[in-house]
Point group: C2
Chain length 316, copies 2
């Protein structure tokens, strides 16, 4: 009998799962809304029904385990702790609930760590022991490998690089504090930068036609590539701050490479060029020669699902 594992990627909007075989092939996938389920047990019940109905279509496979990536997912306790972008308050014991439902080993980590595990097992970091995956989505996440191991910290809560506040920046963050990197360096951050520029610069821009909620990183990228000066300036600012952040990551971790992942990273050169330039300018002398910033080699859509499923083979 063949084996499969389940990878689950829980985001603020949707929750995606994939049935993954031992070669990393996604046999099937589907999703439910995260937002529409304020009661956690209802969410688990509906999601479990959907997953089991899909498993029923693969009778030749035995389910070996479940890996879950979620914001503030705590590897050590199996709980999602105080996730500001999810509908459930406090801590919810997701590993216990899925284990009760499926009776197989269940592993949890946060979405950025899951993406890093995916990069290690299936992507561009197969041969690397020290690397970092930055996820540039609604927020800024970091999955950090050091000496071949994911950095979890004593209680599973390490790696919150997007929430360093020592930047002395003055944007308020969804986490309740001020100055976090992710208020600038994320898909939401670049939207805020666009709106700051529209407020402070008297420059014509196609972006003046967009409401905040309608704007997306890929729209800003499109106009930047067409020559819109506000969009270009927003990418320069975002890339420069990303490079400063990466220079600090080199000071802390001296990695072999930093991979950029998520919607904003798809913008390509308009983000990578200012980021590389700024990382070189801001890095310590001893790190300049090894600055290596590259796009994730995982398919964006399923990277977190693949990474989560990989935890069942090799819990870090």
């Amino acid at each position: 009998m063949k084996s499969l594992s389940i990878g689950i990627d829980i985001g603020g909007t949707n929750s995606v799962f994939g049935l993954v075989d031992t070669q990393g092939v996604i046999l099937a996938s589907d999703q439910i809304q995260t937002k529409g389920h304020p009661i956690f047990s209802d969410y688990v019940a509906e999601f479990s029904r959907l997953i089991k109905s899909k498993l029923y279509e693969f009778p030749d496979y035995q389910l070996t385990g479940i890996g879950i990536g979620a914001p503030n997912g705590n590897y050590r306790t199996g709980t999602i702790d105080h996730a500001p972008n999810l509908p459930w308050k406090g801590k919810v014991n997701i590993v216990q609930e899925f284990h009760d439902s499926f009776k197989v080993p269940v592993f949890l980590t946060n979405d950025a760590k899951a993406a890093a595990i995916g990069e290690k097992i299936y992507g561009g970091a197969k041969d690397k022991t020290d690397f970092i995956v930055l996820t540039l989505g609604t927020g800024l996440g970091a999955g950090i490998y050091s000496s071949g191991k994911i950095l979890y910290g004593s209680d599973g809560l390490a790696g919150e690089f997007g929430h360093l506040t020592s930047t002395q920046l003055d944007r308020e963050c969804a986490c309740g504090r001020t100055g976090c990197w992710e208020t600038y360096v994320s898909a939401t951050g670049i939207k805020r930068t666009v709106f700051d520029l529209l407020a402070t610069q008297p420059i014509d821009s196609e972006l003046r036609k967009y409401a905040f909620n309608a704007l997306e990183a890929k729209i800003i990228a499109k106009y930047a590539n067409e020559g819109d000066r506000v969009a270009q300036r927003a990418f320069e600012i975002t890339g420069r701050m990303l490079g400063e952040a990466i220079a600090d990551l080199y000071s802390m971790f001296s990695p072999e490479a930093v991979f950029l992942f998520g919607g904003l990273a798809n913008a390509g050169d308009i983000l990578f060029e200012p980021a590389r330039k700024s990382a070189m300018e801001n890095a310590m002398q001893i790190h300049k020669s090894k600055i290596n910033i590259q796009p994730s080699q995982l398919d964006n859509e399923y990277a977190a699902v693949l990474g989560a499923s990989a935890m069942t083979y090799e819990p870090a």
Copy 2:
């Protein structure tokens, strides 16, 4: 025959060695000036002669290894790389030179990592897997244990926490860049803060009698404890910024404890109180309950020597 190892602590001013038995007892120690030896081979030759003359007094002991802690000491290559506070330019292969002279295994790391190894083997971190030692001396160093291992990075150059520049601060650092934490949070940093206050505040202060080169952290601490308002304010500012830095270390590493080490840490409550308050204020919600900042439990004078010697028993 009994065994001993040598621990060497290379600082910008002096280089100290200790002969250490297997219980961590320092049998003998002595030092030479680092500053007076611009030619590296001369330095090694004179230092080796001094050490060997001391070894001659312990004929019942066999030398098993040498551990060296030095600024920018690279564990993986055995070289000291571009250390701004040492007299030797570029890279010097200190492990090779000491091995040629003593014919025993030689290990190198930087001074802060050596202090952390000392805290783990002989100090307050014996039972901890995740902790950080901050050395508040001429600069600001960090020795970071994560999951029971020292964080070295791919090439031994990780952990340069004192040189994060994303702070947007505007003091120039000896490393050639601007905004590094250590321009504020170090023994040198608090002197700079005192001189800033003397320049900007019209307050009477005993510290107006001191030249920059004559001022020391312990003098500032003495006057702060006697009620000098400039000295007190300097400790408040330094402690507050130290706490901000520690809050970011919790975001990154989620440690069980942060130990403060070095001359500035000896100031006690006038530093620890604002640091703890500020770390609590700046930490993420998920980390607030575990903020734990305490003094190193190692004897300041020989901690780095002990830590360096411990590398010979248990290279990290």
